[in-house]
């Protein structure tokens, strides 16, 4: 699993490099774009995801002690928080962004000298959040699979490797968001 996560680090690497490169050449435009993002939703989503990661890890510690019932409760909690994240991100935030014409297309809302930089910022924003969202969906499927197997009493204090492996993936998705959050919402905010 750690080998897979190492490849995932390199999968997200070019996205972060694109942010460095694009912002370096278009700082004012990039910051103008960042100031249009929904800071409160982004911050709440960060808290939701960190809490979801905590709850899942608590579930791992419970199954280490052989408590399958508490593992299921923790997995359900983590799964629901993951769903809240996706709803806030795509159901609320993206919808607002589309309504405000912030999708980088011909009717893009930001005009003036910083239009090109802001366009680049929103390409990064939509691509970054979409790729992260896809990873979240995969994570939700995996956590659902753990719940299904735990309900069939397949895990015990002696065997819980799949629970730990899915926990690693879930925390990794959390880590990616921890990087995306300042890049999208914070760095351009007070500039």
């Amino acid at each position: 699993m750690w080998l897979f996560l190492a490849t995932e680090m390199l999968f997200f690497g070019p996205l972060f490099l694109a942010w460095i490169y694009s912002r370096h050449w278009n700082q004012q435009g990039f910051d103008a774009g960042a100031q249009q993002t929904e800071l409160i939703i982004g911050t709440v989503n960060t808290i939701v995801l960190v809490t979801s990661s905590l709850i899942y890890t608590l579930g791992v510690s419970f199954i280490e002690a052989g408590d399958s019932r508490k593992l299921i409760q923790c997995c359900v909690g983590a799964w629901l928080l993951g769903l809240v994240f996706l709803w806030l991100k795509f159901g609320v935030e993206w919808r607002h962004d589309f309504e405000r014409h912030l999708f980088p297309a011909s009717d893009f809302a930001i005009d003036g000298p910083h239009r090109d930089g802001a366009l680049l910022f929103f390409v990064f924003y939509f691509l970054g959040t979409a790729v992260h969202g896809l990873h979240m969906i995969v994570g939700l499927i995996l956590v659902g699979w753990i719940i299904f197997r735990a309900r069939r009493k397949e895990f015990s204090a002696g065997f819980y490797t799949p629970v730990s492996v899915v926990g690693l993936y879930w925390s990794f998705v959390d880590m990616v968001w921890i990087v995306l959050y300042p890049l999208i919402y914070l760095i351009g905010r007070g500039a």
Binding site: A6, M9, Q27, V50, I178, Y185, G188
Partner: protein, 98 residues
């Protein structure tokens, strides 16, 4: 200290770092200095990897893969950033010199 309490403390630390990062974003920093806001995020990643992902408790091979991933990510970002960070643009006079 029980593992649950340890995890809850780690969560508290993560929320505190998030609050610092959030507050720092409102400081009137220079545009080029603003990426310093990423420092709390880097600390948050360290906390998640050590506590939630149990990097400290796991076998050597696990830490090796983590270090290798981090190293190649640093090489990717470092080499990729060299061009924009070091390039000097010489502006060409566009008016007619005749």
């Amino acid at each position: 200290m029980t593992r649950s309490r340890h995890l809850l403390l780690a969560w508290g630390l993560l929320i505190a770092l998030l609050a610092i990062e959030f507050g720092a974003s409102f400081l009137a920093l220079d545009r080029t200095a603003r990426p310093l806001i990423l420092i709390p995020a880097a600390l948050m990643i360290a906390v998640v990897s050590v506590t939630f992902m149990e990097l400290r408790r796991g076998p050597e091979a696990m830490r090796l893969f983590f270090a290798a991933g981090l190293l190649w990510l640093c090489i990717l970002l470092g080499l990729g950033s060299l061009d924009p960070m070091t390039r000097i643009n010489y502006y060409v006079l566009t008016t007619n010199l005749k």
